[in-house]
């Protein structure tokens, strides 16, 4: 493992049973991601991109191999510990934003902070800073249905960064946006990596989105085939 690797993956395999068939979406994969890198993962459907992203985010557990994030072996964590680890260290950005429709933008962004011991005033400061960062401070009281797709994704990004995690994972964050909105989101992710040292792993099908990342890796049949 290199000294600067924020994410260290060695011989990682993920398999599961679907009926009687054994499916192996990831096979013996090794990868290092340095701290502050903006990494794009590309590949055809079923290549294992989202599986890898979920493993890195602590959403899923590996079958075998080593998966360390910031020196912490995620494979050895129980479900409860993994949940707690996620709440401290990971911000997840989904393709379809996954905002809670009955909560306002402010309340959606507040969700990760409710898991931390913060006063209401401290929470408010952080939420407004996060919303300001994504340019939506004036939309704090709006519900998701009152926002455009791009605005929803920026609220989702504010929610992902408000508790200041070291790792951001993004599953096709621009997949449902028009070009202008997509560029804006990619610019925001770029800023988070370059100016704030966040380590970002992004799954995308869009070569233009991938070009915004520092590095792009291609997966096929659960294995890395090339990088740029």
């Amino acid at each position: 493992m290199s000294d600067s690797a924020y994410i260290h993956i060695q011989s990682l395999t993920k398999s599961y049973h679907k009926g009687k068939t054994l499916i192996t979406p990831l096979q013996d994969l090794s990868l290092d991601v340095p701290s502050g890198e903006f990494l794009a993962l590309m590949g055809p459907s079923g290549s294992g991109k989202t599986t890898l992203l979920n493993l890195i985010a602590g959403i899923d557990s590996p079958t075998s191999g080593l998966l360390q994030v910031q020196g912490r072996d995620l494979g050895g964590l129980s479900r409860a510990k993994l949940t707690r680890w996620r709440s401290d260290h990971v911000g997840y950005i989904f393709q379809l934003y996954h905002l809670i429709p009955i909560l306002t933008a402010y309340e959606n962004v507040e969700l990760p902070l409710l898991l931390q011991k913060l006063s209401k005033r401290e929470r408010r400061q952080r939420i407004l800073a996060a919303l300001d960062l994504v340019g939506l401070a004036d939309r704090a009281t709006h519900r998701p249905t009152e926002l455009s797709g791009g605005q929803e994704q920026r609220v989702a990004i504010a929610r992902a960064i408000v508790h200041d995690p070291g790792l951001l994972v993004a599953d096709e964050p621009t997949g449902d946006l028009d070009r202008e909105s997509a560029d804006s989101i990619l610019g925001l992710l770029d800023s988070l990596a370059n100016d704030h040292g966040k380590t970002i792993v992004m799954v995308t099908h869009d070569p233009k989105a991938a070009s915004a990342a520092h590095r792009t890796l291609h997966l096929e049949k659960g294995q890395l085939i090339s990088g740029s």
Binding site: T83, R86, S87, D88, F94, L114, L115, L133, G135, S191
Partner: protein, 405 residues
């Protein structure tokens, strides 16, 4: 249009303090989820209100019936009936002279102003008719004034004890006969067969079956029913024991009597009505089961549409326990609203209502037991009822749940 991206200036990292984390979803999340689909909310609240109301009604019915039967019998009274007909006073036949013989032969009976508390009575069920109304089955008792010595709960509310050609009616007879209360006021008449009787008085005997009875002068009833025997002789004990009365029946086996304590007689009657109470429960539970399955289906649908949302909360760091508690809060809010609604409906339409049955009338009351039953059912519906849909929603692996539609 997306606004300009501002320069990044995040507030510094949060100082972690694991001991002080709450991990709970805000209560407002549960409250607002309730109003997500007003139709579903109405169904859940209405369904739980129906279940709670039905089970409260069943409890009140059973409690009312058991209550009136247990209150009707006194441990101080012993009933002498014809041997072999201990199951039913109406079928019993007791020689007329048994009343006087028992009064003199048994020592230690209650005395009031020199009169021994022994009352020979005729108990009968027959159709009665209020002029202008349909006939209805009535509970008739032929008595003498000595009956007041043994039935000590009886109090005259107005009027006087009946003389020949008169009757005294219990305050709930109007319910048994299905007429207005005014139709049985003092001075009004009622018909038994072709004979007309004037109402001389109205009495009460709180919480007992006597309140549903029409009391005739004993000779009148004997004549009309062509009886030359009594149905029973009721004795009120003072220093005597029930065993003394039983010994009397053995000593005077020529009278062919059986003795049973009045409270034991009504306890036996209560056992006779047990199948009716079981049927009440069964009916209430069957209808309630239908409503519960309907409610569960609604909850399944409500939660199933939120699998992805609940998975998102897990991905943020909320534990399944925290989400489950929020779902319970949401469900409890709905079912307790339904419970409150049921309590209000029960208070308006159930409390104080009287229900006639074959040997009397009982009153439905929102007793502490009925209210506690309602509240318990509401809480059970909100907690246990939520388990299957919550399990189905939270059980799928997180990656699969995040991909669900």
């Amino acid at each position: 249009m997306i606004g300009q991206i501002r320069p990044i200036r995040l507030i510094g990292p949060i100082t972690k303090n694991k001991e002080q984390r709450t991990n709970m979803l805000p209560f407002t999340y549960a409250v607002r989820n309730l109003f997500r689909d007003p139709g579903r909310l109405l169904q859940t609240v209405g369904g739980s209100a129906l279940v709670v109301f039905l089970l409260m009604a069943a409890t009140a019915l059973n409690q009312g019936m058991s209550g009136v039967l247990s209150a009707s019998g006194s441990a101080q009274n012993v009933i002498l009936m014809g041997k072999g007909s201990e199951e039913s006073i109406e079928r019993s036949e007791v020689h007329l002279e048994a009343e006087a013989i028992a009064a003199t032969a048994i020592r230690g009976l209650h005395q009031t102003l020199g009169q021994t508390a022994v009352s020979g009575e005729i108990v009968y069920q027959a159709p009665l008719q209020i002029p202008g109304k349909d006939k209805a089955q009535g509970l008739l008792r032929g008595v003498t004034e000595k009956s007041l010595l043994v039935h000590q709960t009886v109090r005259l509310l107005e009027g006087r004890f009946p003389s020949p050609g008169e009757v005294m009616v219990g305050s709930l007879v109007y319910r048994k006969l299905g007429v207005d209360e005014e139709a049985l006021a003092v001075g009004k008449v009622l018909n038994f067969g072709s004979a007309e009787f004037t109402i001389s008085g109205i009495f009460t005997a709180p919480g007992t079956v006597l309140e549903s009875e029409v009391w005739f002068e004993r000779n009148d009833l004997a004549t009309l029913t062509q009886r030359d025997t009594l149905s029973s002789v009721v004795l009120r004990l003072d220093t005597a024991e029930a065993e003394d009365v039983e010994i009397f029946t053995l000593q005077r086996n020529d009278l062919e009597l059986a003795a049973i304590r009045e409270d034991h007689y009504f306890a036996k009657l209560s056992g006779f009505y047990a199948p009716i109470r079981t049927m009440t429960w069964l009916t209430a539970m069957l209808v309630a089961a239908g409503a519960i399955f309907g409610g569960l289906n609604t909850l399944y649908a409500a939660f199933a549409s939120r699998i992805k949302e609940l998975a998102t909360l897990q991905s943020i760091g909320y534990t399944r326990r925290a989400i489950f508690i929020s779902l319970v809060q949401e469900s409890l809010l709905a079912t307790l609203t339904g419970t409150l609604l049921a309590l209000i409906v029960a208070l308006v339409f159930l409390d104080g209502r009287t229900v006639p049955f074959s040997i009397g009338t009982f009153r439905l009351s929102l007793t502490p037991l009925v209210i506690i039953t309602g509240l318990s059912i509401g809480i059970l519906l909100g907690t246990i009822g939520i388990l299957p849909p919550a399990w189905r929603t939270l059980a799928p692996p997180l990656p699969k749940a995040l991909r669900s539609n």
